[in-house]
């Protein structure tokens, strides 16, 4: 189990790739965008984006805005 942060919340995961992580966290069917350690990770790169101990993951969804 790796210690990581998702949206600034400490958590642990087993997933190797960002893609697996999203599935593990239950975002599988959601329209979301992702960043790892402050860098954008495009949808297509999630599969080959390796998740390491201590990674800071951002998962963002659409919201209201002005």
């Amino acid at each position: 189990m790796k210690k990581i942060q998702v949206n600034s919340v400490d958590t642990t995961c087993q997933a190797d790739s960002l893609l697996d992580l999203l599935i593990e966290l239950g975002y599988a069917d959601d329209v979301v965008a992702t960043a790892v350690n402050g860098d954008f990770v495009a949808q297509g790169n999630r599969v080959n984006t390796h998740i390491k101990e201590g990674d800071r993951i951002e998962v963002l969804a659409p919201m209201q805005g002005g």
């Binding site: 239950g26 954008f40 951002e58 998962v59 963002l60 659409p62 209201q64 002005g66």
Partner: protein, 257 residues
């Protein structure tokens, strides 16, 4: 009518999606506004909470252009990353670029704004920069590749109207080919009409509609006022005449001799 990165808008009204009493009222307000653009944003979402997904479906049903913003970003890096995430989620190269420099007035940090605008333009974005009325900043934004400018009327959410009419007039006069959108600070339709009469190309607002007692009716009011100002600018208004000075012999004079 000037176009927005090649897009001719059906109406010069861009409406925000924040702070409505309910999604239903948001949808109703958009219908009444006949807005052609909706601004949206991104937020962290717990996987359990699907609010974002519902919101996105609602926006898609509005059948308007979507303009994602980078609200809340205080650094170039944040803004650029957010822009990339927004482009993927919302599937548009349009980005309302906000780089906030001051917490109270939420006014732009024009330094970060120009830097971020340059980066994003090079990365293929079509940038709608939220800026001030500063002519020199505007010139740098245009040099950075911006083909739309969005000067503020007043601080976001203030409803004060146009704090610097001279500045907006100067911006219009110096950038005849650039579409200008007054973004933020309007509270009343008459202010939106005034901005359009000054030759602005569109109005972007949110609070004045979402926080009105009747958002749908207020959306209708702004739509009507924006249309009025746009027509007036085209219809060649009369020139005002100052009638303070008399042409005829002055009153009372006789009685003084």
């Amino acid at each position: 009518m000037r176009d927005f990165y090649g897009v001719q808008l059906e109406t010069p009204f861009m409406l925000g999606t924040a702070q409505y009493p309910s999604p239903a009222i948001l949808a109703k307000a958009f219908t009444h506004s006949k807005a052609s653009v909706a601004t949206v944003s991104l937020r962290r979402e717990a996987s359990s909470d699907k609010a974002g997904q519902d919101f996105w479906r609602l926006i898609q049903d509005l059948n308007v252009h979507v303009l994602p913003n980078t609200a809340g970003c205080h650094t170039v890096k944040e803004a650029v990353t957010t822009a990339h995430m927004a482009r993927e989620v919302f599937g548009t190269p349009w980005i309302k670029l906000e780089v906030i420099g001051e917490e109270d007035t939420l006014q732009p940090d024009v330094f970060g704004l120009v830097e971020a605008a340059k980066i994003l333009t090079e990365e293929g974005f079509q940038v709608f920069p939220y800026t001030t009325e500063d002519l020199v900043v505007a010139d740098k934004l245009v040099n950075a590749g911006c083909r739309v400018l969005m000067p503020w009327g007043a601080p976001i959410g203030s409803g004060m109207g146009l704090n610097n009419v001279f500045g907006l007039r100067a911006l219009r006069a110096h950038f005849p080919e650039i579409p200008l959108v007054v973004d933020a600070g309007l509270g009343l339709p008459s202010q939106a009409a005034q901005a359009m009469e000054l030759g602005m190309d569109a109005i972007l607002l949110n609070t004045a509609v979402s926080k009105a007692g009747d958002p749908a009716m207020m959306a209708d009011a702004f739509a009507s006022a924006i249309r009025a100002g746009q027509l007036a600018a085209k219809a060649d208004p009369m020139v005002p005449r100052d009638m303070a000075s008399p042409s005829t012999p002055v009153l009372g004079k006789a009685f003084l001799d």
